[in-house]
Symmetry: C2
Subunit: 281 residues, 2 copies
């Protein structure tokens, strides 16, 4: 596995591989890799001649009071996992390599970014869209892989690719879960053992929404109430948002028909976790 | 010359040419082509195997009270000029082909777009940056050509390419002028004969600034006063802005040293014209 820390090295390698006719699959990450990331890498492995993974804790997607400085990092282990998973090139730049001193251009994702996490984290998706477009331009992959756990992020990127004619195919991979249902996330490492037990409430709340959908319940507010009630059972759980939305626009659904997304952000102690589940008939 | 009206046709042609190892030069325009545009096409012709020109009057760069609906259009003559100038592919899409009903992602250019024309035309450079990035992604050229008359636009695009790692080389071509010095612009066609005579005041004001620079005058305000005085001589000329700025940041210069840009927007009757001149020692 090649490891690159500069844009010019990464571009040169990717360009040389493309010249040889090799298709590139790209998995952008913030590192501290778990089985969710490895699922993305495996999907990229199956569908492309070469796999590029990036590890970059992107400062522009963190708010002033968020966890940029404490975000978990383990580059040595991450590199070992990438090598073992068949990654061909690992791109692991410093922040100054990605954002020059005169950086001022951003990608603004619009409506899709204004609800849910975008409401609690102003500027977050602007930072995500900007860094993803930059990484796409550096790597120039045929396919890029994103986890469905970050559903709104995925939709922001799908919108960006459509609206800006970005020549990259976006592939969504299903959320990978712990045995008790908790969605895998690098931020799970923040949880104390007691918080970790309580954190299952997100998955269980989504499961209760699924039961309502299977029963044919049509009132969107009922779903939200039932999910909130499950979360409230945990002493250290505080919902940021709990919603039932249209999977394409992310607008609230009042009357459920044949397709909807239950989606939530919940603080467990100081740790903010997100999860979602798509229901379709 | 090939003519394409859809994104998919344009992409397919450009992609096929690149596969054959042909380098692409791209000249994005809003049509109503004049010798300034043809200079860009000629430069592209010299430096690339294939030349692509686009004609698209981009709605997102016009404000609500601006001249989108009256902007001069002459696609038949434009196509003839392109063919005669050796353009290989002309891309001339409708607005709905470029902006789908769900379009919501924009490129925000930052500081460089907030002064000068950006102050009088809020959102203008957001529209410019967005459509230029879209066209770059559709055509995927090696080189793209822009006129120095639209100096701030050029700087916005240079910043965007740098900040978003866009793999396109930006080439600036000198402003082409009428015999009396008026910078060529499609909007010159709006001028009545009397206004056309008055319009030379932009070029002459810039010439007076050049004299000050050649004399070693260091006070930025003196330049602005002298330029404004020349413009005031014309009864139908109304300055929008008249400035002496740093050519890189576009910030006002108080103390002139060895490099500065005189830049202005002036209304002649109802027609807003822009011009600039770079002074360097």
């Amino acid at each position: 596995m090649e490891t690159f820390t500069t844009v010019s090295e990464m571009k040169a390698w990717a360009s040389a591989e493309r010249s040889l006719g090799k298709s590139l699959g790209f998995v952008p990450t913030m590192g501290y890799l778990h089985d969710g990331h490895l699922t993305l890498i495996n999907a990229a492995r199956r569908e492309n001649d070469r796999v590029v993974t990036s590890i970059f804790v992107n400062p522009t997607q963190f708010g002033a009071n968020e966890d940029l400085s404490t975000y978990p990092r383990d580059p040595v282990n991450d590199a070992a996992k990438c090598a073992k998973s068949g990654v061909d090139a690992l791109f692991i730049p410093e922040a100054a390599e990605i954002y020059g001193p005169r950086h001022q251009t951003y990608v603004e994702p619009g409506r899709i970014s204004e609800t849910l996490c975008g409401r609690s984290r102003p500027g977050h998706f602007r930072g995500v869209a900007t860094v993803v477009l930059k990484l796409f331009n550096i790597v120039n992959p045929a396919n890029a892989y994103f986890g469905a756990k970050d559903y709104q992020q995925l939709q922001v990127i799908v919108s960006m690719v459509r609206d800006l004619n970005v020549p990259v195919r976006i592939v969504s991979c299903p959320t990978v879960r712990e045995p008790d249902g908790l969605a895998m996330s690098s931020r799970n490492s923040y949880l104390t053992p007691d918080e970790r037990r309580q954190a299952v409430c997100l998955y269980e709340a989504l499961g209760k929404a699924r039961e309502l959908f299977d029963q044919g319940v049509t009132c969107g507010l009922t779903y939200v109430d039932v999910m909130r009630d499950r979360i409230k059972l945990e002493p250290d759980a505080e919902p940021d948002y709990v919603s039932l939305v249209d999977p394409d626009t992310l607008g609230d659904i009042e009357e459920v028909s044949d397709r909807c997304l239950a989606v939530m952000a919940v603080r467990i102690g100081k740790t903010r976790l997100i999860d979602n589940m798509l229901f379709e008939r």
